[in-house]
Symmetry: C2
Subunit: 358 residues, 2 copies
Amino acid sequence: MAENPVRFGIIGCAEIARKVARAIDLAPNSILYAIASRSIEKAKNFAATNGLPENVKIYGSYDQVLDDPCVDAVYMPLPTSLHVHWAVLAARKKKHLLLEKPTAIDVAELDQILEACESNGVQFMGGSMWLHHPRTAKMKDLLSNYFGQLNFIHSQSTMPATPEFLESNIRVKPDLDALGALGDLAWYCIEAILWAKDYQLPTTVTALPDVTRNLAGVIFSCTASLHWDQPDTTVATIHCSFLSHWSMDMAICASKGSLHVKDFIIPNQEHFASFDFTLGSKFLDLHIGWSVKPEEVCVTSQLPQEALMVQELARLVEGIRKSKFRPDSKWPGISRKTQLVMDAVKKSIDLGCKPVNL
Amino acid sequence: MAENPVRFGIIGCAEIARKVARAIDLAPNSILYAIASRSIEKAKNFAATNGLPENVKIYGSYDQVLDDPCVDAVYMPLPTSLHVHWAVLAARKKKHLLLEKPTAIDVAELDQILEACESNGVQFMGGSMWLHHPRTAKMKDLLSNYFGQLNFIHSQSTMPATPEFLESNIRVKPDLDALGALGDLAWYCIEAILWAKDYQLPTTVTALPDVTRNLAGVIFSCTASLHWDQPDTTVATIHCSFLSHWSMDMAICASKGSLHVKDFIIPNQEHFASFDFTLGSKFLDLHIGWSVKPEEVCVTSQLPQEALMVQELARLVEGIRKSKFRPDSKWPGISRKTQLVMDAVKKSIDLGCKPVNL
């Protein structure tokens, strides 16, 4: 444990908060200091159910966390429509911010959040855990050094929502998570594609005419294509759905290599993740088989990816606190570009699948 | 070896003919009886290079094979633009027909071929080997019985063509294989998607605006989406390219399962092929990992898929010859639907990526 660990407060006792509470405990440079729900009973119940230490403060309102001077950073797994209010407030109270995805309803709201973080000198980070897994760095190394020109990327994220979820979960409520599967699942696909493209924004985004919505207009499933004209031509497709079984795919075709990963968002196993690729594969005589089999790369991780995420945020917070560093611009930049592309997909859907230029 | 094996003639000594010559030898109910090239020297050279038995007849013109009354069936790996002429002629000469893909430049030409086969009572089969692999049947069994509604399918086929290929191979010549990568590679993707959808034609086909062509207009790479409105909504994406490294992917998302196969066109190994799927997978507590890991299914095959293809055609030919069966309509039907969808992709590209209804 670090000498002065970064003290986290959690605002909102969503299911995902259980995972991040554990991650804050696992990360060597952070501790869970406080949790809050809108009711003290719910917060107490969360603490008891998850076996939180007795010294974790339990609050019955979000404001109490933000007003507690001992809280350094806030993890915020609130419904998306509440992000702008509470994230801006947290920044003004000088709390560093770990914000669940989708980071905002649209880039205008995200910009309010980022501006508040910037002007208050606090670190912003979106809650995408997979970006912190060492597998992700290993794949990037291969892509950058061996794959040549990226020509095609496909990414999909699907989850089999129950009828109850589709009826009443906050992620299908227009006043809470109006983006539905686009925000909850396609966020990762967009982020993965931007990650593969070194965060170069696409030229054009076009939704495909297969959008499924509920009666309130919340997206249950959709597909879209992303195009890059300059400097290199790349096309990417994304698909998200609450109506299909689990999938979390990324497939990359480049001039010199192919890569596949089937659990990029949440690895099958916590301490071990793999992907496979081919480079320089040719066919044997008579096309009987491949001369090089796809190579599987296994990457171990001492800490789960969510703890690595917390550790990275805490590291940046320590730098700001001890060394007076400026907040790092990398993480807000990734979230903002992801949000921009997600907005473009949404706009294309709303325009009846017309192409939207970025 | 069967008592009266079906005697094959091969018209055209393309590279792929080497593989099918071997397959005809391996299949227990067929023999290679004759080969022909446009020059006797080329045909002799093909026979010598591939160690064909001395009793295989070697002809210096295609007509000689068609006029040889001992030839029962013809395998035709000619450039696509020559298919309609030689396939119709073969049918008129009462030769059963194994025709390389793409089966024709468009469905109008394919219909001439199919009509000639029909009216002459000969069996037609397209040259798609993967449909005959036992892995394909195993995957179909899972899809039909356990996967529920198919929501999304992605298939891609890419090959890293050399500069010489892109300059001078017949598959990039507008007068020989005008369809380029669409015919050579996307044919399989379209077929795979139709296969998954039990050969139900899509409602709409739309090309995406990332088409790459050579100066003569031949397609080097393209992407398209296929939509089904009725009775079930499905969306599929295909991508083909001569400009990327090898890939042969099919990924299927259904309401109750996900399936991935990464070498569906040509298995990595000749006698062994695999795919993986998940069914009923849930996440462990705290979303720490998947409760069910993707299951890998391994399927062995005594004969390579191309020999199984030849065996199936020979079996049908035997049925016609011995039992006076009518030619089977399944294989012409598969080729025709694949051709129809390929035509629609081509038309959408030609229309500047407008949707094309089928």
